[in-house]
Symmetry: C2
Subunit: 345 residues, 2 copies
């Protein structure tokens, strides 16, 4: 009795067709639930598929039809907000035939271009780009090649859908809360943005604008104080150090992202300051970590899970009807008041 050969040949659609006594066309139709198959043929083919353990080669499919592969471009695996989005996407895709693959670690336009090209080369059926920094033209180019949904970018392209939080309003929520507590010297840590084109589209810029606008609305224009670093733990840490070194340091620090707020907390602890006794801290994103009892960070929730679900839904819609008009979804953020904010002493 012969053993399995060293490298087993894959079962192909031809094998299934022969085994079921039908044509490959028929098998293909059954597999894709296409028109023109009788119930008997369907059951015969399915039986053959099961018996032979056949799996369609996505590689071969890619050449003619769909790959049933979706790509997610993720800037940073470590940002838990993105993980929430991923959960939402995965949940909405659960039960469909689509398989999700993601890339991580795109931190500049060049690597974003490399990754999106790689996804197009592999003829993925659709792309979800999370917080991309590429130029609008570049995003358009990608969206022309493959159905695309962009998360975290306030642009209005006719080629792709966008899902966003109302960052401007969200920032105002934080300022309102701190003002209501009695704070006046409220500082902000923003993610530095220099490119003029992106300035109007990027959430970080909108959060900073929302902060400034809300401060003025409360008559606190004179107390506007922004440290421009990055939305990372280190960025928050250094931003806080900058702010603490002011002649009159703030009584509250509003970091534009929770990860940065965590860095702020580190810096404050190191400086021997108690939170919220000596100084209040707020973030943005409501990452899972923010809810942990030992941290209990006041923040703004943009329901990453829901963002993910929405993006996935839009993407499937767009795949089904590639030419349909683009939609911009903007969800309302909600404040999450926890233990790191209190009235100033």
């Amino acid at each position: 009795m012969p053993q399995h050969p060293a490298t087993a040949r894959r079962v192909t659609i031809v094998d299934v067709a022969r085994h079921a006594g039908v044509s490959t066309t028929a098998v293909s139709k059954v597999l894709r639930n296409a028109y023109g198959t009788s119930p008997q043929m369907r059951s015969r083919v399915r039986a053959a598929v099961d018996q032979l353990g056949y799996r369609p080669s996505a590689a071969a499919r890619a050449l003619r039809g769909r790959t049933h592969t979706l790509g997610v471009m993720l800037p940073d695996v470590r940002n838990p907000f993105f993980a929430d989005i991923l959960d939402g996407v995965a949940e909405h895709l659960d039960g469909t035939e689509y398989q999700l693959f993601m890339t991580s670690g795109c931190d500049d336009a060049a690597s974003e271009a490399r990754v999106t090209e790689a996804m197009i080369d592999r003829s993925m059926d659709g792309l979800i780009l999370i917080a991309p920094v590429s130029s609008p033209a570049r995003l358009d180019h990608v969206a022309q090649a493959v159905p695309t949904v962009v998360i975290g970018r306030h642009s209005r392209s006719s080629r792709y859908d966008t899902v966003n939080d109302d960052d401007f309003a969200g920032a105002a929520l934080v300022v309102d809360h701190l003002v209501a507590l009695g704070h006046r010297r409220i500082a902000h840590i923003e993610h530095r943005e220099t490119d003029p084109v992106r300035l109007a589209e990027m959430p970080n810029a909108l959060r900073a604008d929302g902060y400034r606008h809300a401060m003025r609305r409360h008559g606190l224009a004179g107390h506007i104080d922004v440290a421009a670093t990055t939305y990372t733990r280190d960025g928050g840490y250094h931003g806080a150090q900058l702010l603490l070194a002011r002649r009159t340091p703030p009584t509250a620090i509003f970091a534009g992202a929770d990860v940065a707020a965590l860095g702020v907390l580190d810096a404050l602890t190191e400086a021997g300051l108690s939170v919220p006794g000596d100084i209040s801290v707020a973030g943005y994103d409501n990452i899972t970590l923010a809810g942990f009892r030992t941290i209990s960070l006041t923040t703004v929730d943009q329901d990453g899970h829901h963002v993910g679900v929405t993006a996935a839904r839009l993407l499937l819609d767009r795949i089904a009807a590639p030419g349909r008009p683009a939609t911009q979804v903007r969800s309302a953020p909600t404040p999450v008041l926890r233990g790191t904010t209190a009235p100033p002493r």
Copy 2:
């Protein structure tokens, strides 16, 4: 002058060949640095490639040759230890032609099977499986279909390489540290493992073994006390409650994973015990959260970055020589002493 058509046809190898005045075979050879190309032809072809902006279709390549795609199966994006591994993998792959795609959220054997099959269907060139829970037979099956490296699994298969931390030694480090502080009643929280096959392979089982062995080495066999729950926050919480209910509760709790240690801290806080005053706590993995000043958890660090680099190197080796004998790499863990451990009172 005609505008771009609605859906631009992709530039193919045929276009390049025609433009360069050579055959498609020639272009293919140049692109793959294959044998049989003159310097003149190479430069002609490369010029045509650049002028036309040609990019080979990975989809088409998949059918005959290599896809230059590697897959990483990740159980959980939120676990920062895995992010460190990813960084290492990405770093080692930087500059190569390989593109990395990953999947997340595999929490049981069924979803692992689904994901690995999906990767094989897409004819990926190699796979890195991180902390899989599938059966050894299943791992062998995957490794037979595609070059594979497994991280976090102490198995000895001839088909795939493994990269591990020395969990046995790591657990001993914690026990040594606690004994040096003067503790004798040191309890352990383990992730329950029932499958006899996996028992010898899974890191959690080795950590529990390492704990027991170290306790005996210190003459503390009589104080061995293990609560078998899970490596989750809840698991740690309930494990701690079990241990606190002993007639003589432990003076130190060593949780087999940091996430579980966080649950232990919750339970202790709830019981009104101070850490490390009343009781010491240690974890394993050195997740980012463990380093937070407000937590400051004593733990064991396994250089995830180095693990990733090693795995990537092994995978490229294996792709180059699929039949070569399998290697098992085991790296040494280092203790990270922080604020949750102190001498017993």
